[in-house]
Amino acid sequence: MTGTVLWVMPFLIAAVLLESVVLPGVSGARFRVDAALVIVIGWATIRGWEEGLLAGLIAGLTADFLSAAPFGLQMVRLGTVGVLAGVLMPRLARSSSVFPIAAAVAGSLVAFFVGVLGLQAAGWAVSWEQTLLREVIPSALLAGACMAVVFPLIRALVRRTLTPSEDAVP
């Protein structure tokens, strides 16, 4: 079952590199879409918490290489979101296509707070109130909009990678 997560691995790595290397140079905006987070939530929604966790760890490890924050924090952050999305979302996503979008918005906020807690646990100061209002909430809304486009693509990728014996895709 977890073998299919290998299919999404290149997309996760590309997403992290895109948001960290390419997008900051292109966009002057303070907020930016967390593309890796969107893919992790989308993948976990369809494939469950095990693959959500794996996808989160892969994206987190890549982000940890580029981050100045304590090593492992990104893995914890994205892994947590992957597990939560994998546990809560599969049933909801079957009932309405709005849920994955809502999950992207909520997941962005959860990821931010996990990141803040991790930084504070490591002894870093964080001005989370300002960051939340100016960066995180606009980024979360952008992630929701991004999910509306990305989720059908992830579903198509999962369908393509599934073997006949595996579960039906929501």
Partner: protein, 287 residues
């Protein structure tokens, strides 16, 4: 089978007689020629124009191969020249950058400077840091100042063999000892990031003069940043009656989002003598 129709004999004789008449009678020949030319001249002109056009077309088709090759050559030349112009502009910017840096070197005791490029921005929201393309292999160590000709950018906090991570002064975890560049004031304090791209100068005694528009520079206290580097410009001063200290909101002199040509101060010589190391050069010849 029907017999082939021929011109009647009387008509042939008539036409021949008319021809003889035209030849023998000079006036009639002239009239006939004029009338004929009046009809034929436009047709002749049109035909000549068409023939010339066709001739030119044939000529062009014959030369089409040469023209295409010439066109390709011109395009290659244009592309090459455009690339050269871009390169020259970049060199001009770099030249300006280095001139300003030399100017800065005269004012601040900078040691060896290592030219670095920003390769990635911090992916974690809430942390303001960048990755640069030089590491311990090029002599970079933890806690070295990173500057641009405009002023202070940050300090290295993590160093790997080929890359390093720089915590920007705008991050809330950064703190720089600062003073105001004003001979009358010389107010000192500590500047830290606010997390929203600006800086806050704190612990400035209320008795010290602090005004909007003042320039904040590094004081050199603390040992990480050499004295005299520009940090930013005071935007707003906040004073409260009950407090001993005043604080000021400071706009950083460096645009952290677009910072691209940066320098790591490898060693603080304190004598103002050093060298600017280009990308790819190593400060340690033994490496």
């Amino acid at each position: 089978m029907r017999a082939r129709q021929t011109v009647p004999g009387w008509a042939a004789v008539g036409i021949a007689a008319l021809a003889v008449l035209l030849i023998l009678v000079p006036g009639a020949a002239f009239q006939a020629e004029s009338a004929g030319l009046r009809v034929l001249a436009p047709i002749e002109a049109a035909l000549t124009g068409t023939a010339n056009g066709v001739s030119r077309l044939v000529e062009n088709v014959a030369q089409a191969g040469d023209l295409a090759a010439q066109n390709r050559q011109y395009r290659e030349d244009v592309n090459r020249l455009q690339a050269t112009i871009v390169q020259l502009r970049e060199l001009e910017l770099e030249n300006q950058d280095l001139r300003r840096l030399l100017d800065l070197r005269e004012r601040a005791p900078l040691g060896s400077l290592l030219s670095v490029n920003v390769i990635a921005q911090e992916p974690l929201t809430g942390v303001q840091a960048v990755s640069i393309d030089r590491g311990s292999d090029q002599g970079v160590a933890v806690n070295q100042p990173v500057i641009s000709w405009r002023g202070v950018v940050g300090r290295t906090i993590e160093v790997r063999p080929t890359t390093s991570k720089v915590l920007l002064i705008t991050d809330v975890n950064s703190a720089v000892s600062a003073r105001i560049q004003d001979p009358e004031s010389r107010a000192t304090g500590s500047i830290r990031g606010t997390g929203d791209g600006r800086l806050l100068m704190q612990f400035v005694p209320r008795t010290d003069a602090l005004r909007a528009g003042d320039t904040a520079i590094t004081s050199g206290i603390g040992g990480v940043f050499p004295p005299g580097l520009v940090i930013g410009r005071v935007l707003q001063v906040r004073q409260r009656d009950v407090e001993v200290f005043q604080e000021a909101l400071v706009e950083p002199s460096v645009d952290m989002r677009n910072a691209e040509r940066l320098y790591v101060v490898l060693g603080l010589s304190g004598q103002g003598v050093g060298s600017v190391l280009g990308p790819g050069s190593s400060p340690n010849p033994s490496r």
